[in-house]
Structures are given as C-alpha cells and as structure tokens.
C-alpha cells in the first residue's frame, strides 16, 4: 500500500498543512508552534539534503505516489550503531486507520536494521499516546524510563515514555515468529493501555 522515499523540497506545501493542524501536533513530544510557509520550506529543503544523520522519509501510496505522511529517523550514530525513531505522522485523515502507520513503521524499521545496520533503536512518546506505546510494546520494545513532566503542552506538563529495542532482541522475536499477527497484538495492547488510562 505504501512506500518510503526521501523528503523532497516541494513536499513543504503538504507538510505545512499537516504541521499547522493541531490534531497532528497534540500528541508529539515537541512543543506546538505556529509555522510559516517559509519556515516549512526551509525545513523540507534542509532535510531533503541530509540522508546521513537525520533521515526524513515521505510516506507515499504505491497506487498514485500521493504523499500521506512522513517518518523520521534521527540522531543516527554510525559509530555506536544507534538511532532514534523520531516520529511518524499520517497527515491525511483518510489513512488514519492504523494500517498505513503500521506498514510505514515496518518499512522504516527494516531499513534501520537491514540497511543502516543499527544495533539499538529508541523511540519516545507522550505517556498518553496510546497508539505509539501499544505499537512499541507489542513489538517488544522495552520501556527504559519515564521522564516525568518533561514537556508543557496544552496548559499542562506531560510525561514522556522512552522505549528501545536491540537488534538481537528483534531478531530473536522474529526467529520465534512473535511478529506474526502483530496487528492483533497491537490491538490488545491498545485495549490494555486505554483501560489503564481510563482508570487513572
């Protein structure tokens, strides 16, 4: 359904719309800022020229090449073979059903492991970002810590959860077939986390 490509400078026109959509920004680990078209143009231009330390990938539909979101791989440390999954945004509401999110995440992770040869991959999200946490927990990422009241958004402080997975852990689970039926595993994790959040 989707493929990944490096961000192009002209992608700024669509990322500008998504970036200024509150619903796309409210669950990120970054602050909510107003962004001008000029700022967005520079952002896309800069990232279209970097495929070494921070890789910004456009998520596109195979059927018509339409860009529906983006995925970033950040702080790539080639000496220590580690990097951070900086975030995934499905900007087009028609594809916010979890399927494009999963498929793009899988493609990016395969690239991180099999092409970038990373040994340790980290990911962070707001504690209340159920989908992101469920995805990482169902995929056997380990919660390494919770940074309390780490970011101020929407009038309150939010905790940030930090997860990581090692190459050897991923390969072991892959070998054991633990990633079969991953969608159902994520669904169960979503249900568990929603229940926990509801009880708080």
């Amino acid at each position: 359904m989707v493929y990944l490509r490096l961000l192009e400078p002209e992608d700024y026109e669509i990322t500008y719309k998504w970036r200024n959509n509150y619903n796309n920004q409210k669950m990120t680990c970054g602050p909510i800022r107003f962004i001008s078209k000029e700022m967005e143009r520079n952002w896309a231009q800069n990232h279209s020229l970097d495929n070494s330390y921070n890789i910004y990938l456009a998520i596109c539909l195979i059927e018509n090449d339409e860009m529906i979101g983006w995925y970033s791989i950040n702080n790539i440390d080639h000496k220590n073979q580690k990097c951070e999954c900086g975030g995934i945004v499905i900007g087009d509401r028609r594809y916010k059903d979890g399927m494009a999110y999963r498929e793009a995440g899988d493609l990016a992770f395969q690239y991180i492991i099999n092409e970038l040869n990373m040994n340790r991959v980290t990911g962070s999200c707001l504690k209340e970002h159920i989908l992101s946490r469920a995805d990482m927990e169902a995929s056997f990422w380990k919660l390494e810590g919770i940074e309390r009241q780490a970011i101020f958004k929407n009038g309150t402080y939010h905790d940030i959860c930090h997860y990581a997975i090692l190459r050897e852990e991923y390969l072991e689970h892959l070998h054991n077939g633990d990633y079969n039926n991953l969608t159902l595993r994520i669904a169960k994790a979503v249900k568990k986390l929603r229940k926990e959040q509801y009880l708080l």
């Binding site: 916010k96 979890g98 999110y101 979503v190």
Partner: protein, 77 residues
Amino acid sequence: MKSLEEFVELFAEQFDETDASEITAATVFHDLDEWSSLIGLSVIAMVDEEFDVALKGDDVKNSVTVEDLYNRVIAKL
C-alpha cells in the same frame, strides 16, 4: 452467536466521545469524527475478545458500515 444489535452496542463502546445513539448498523463509521487508528484497533481487540475472531486491518479498512464489519466477523466464525 451475538446479534447485529449486540455488535453495534459493543462497537459503540469503543468510542470515548461519540454518543452511542449516533451509531447504528448503517453508520459509515470511517466518517465519524472520532474514528481513528486507536478506535479501529480497539474494535479489532473487541472482536477478538467477544467473538474469538482475528480481524485483519483490511477487514476494517474495507468495511463501510458497522453491519458490513459485523458480516465479515460472522463469516470468519
């Protein structure tokens, strides 16, 4: 086996902000404001728990109404 009416009720329980009265068998659920990947995955978990059926993402994606989804679940029993 659960009826369509029971399925609609269970489906509606997955939403936080949408009033259950807004959801019927004929509801085009992708059009609901609150519809999201989070709700979609919650529906998949509910179907697994209540029907012991493992829906795939495509089952949810390719269903239009709540009744369509129910029929897919029943077909997998």
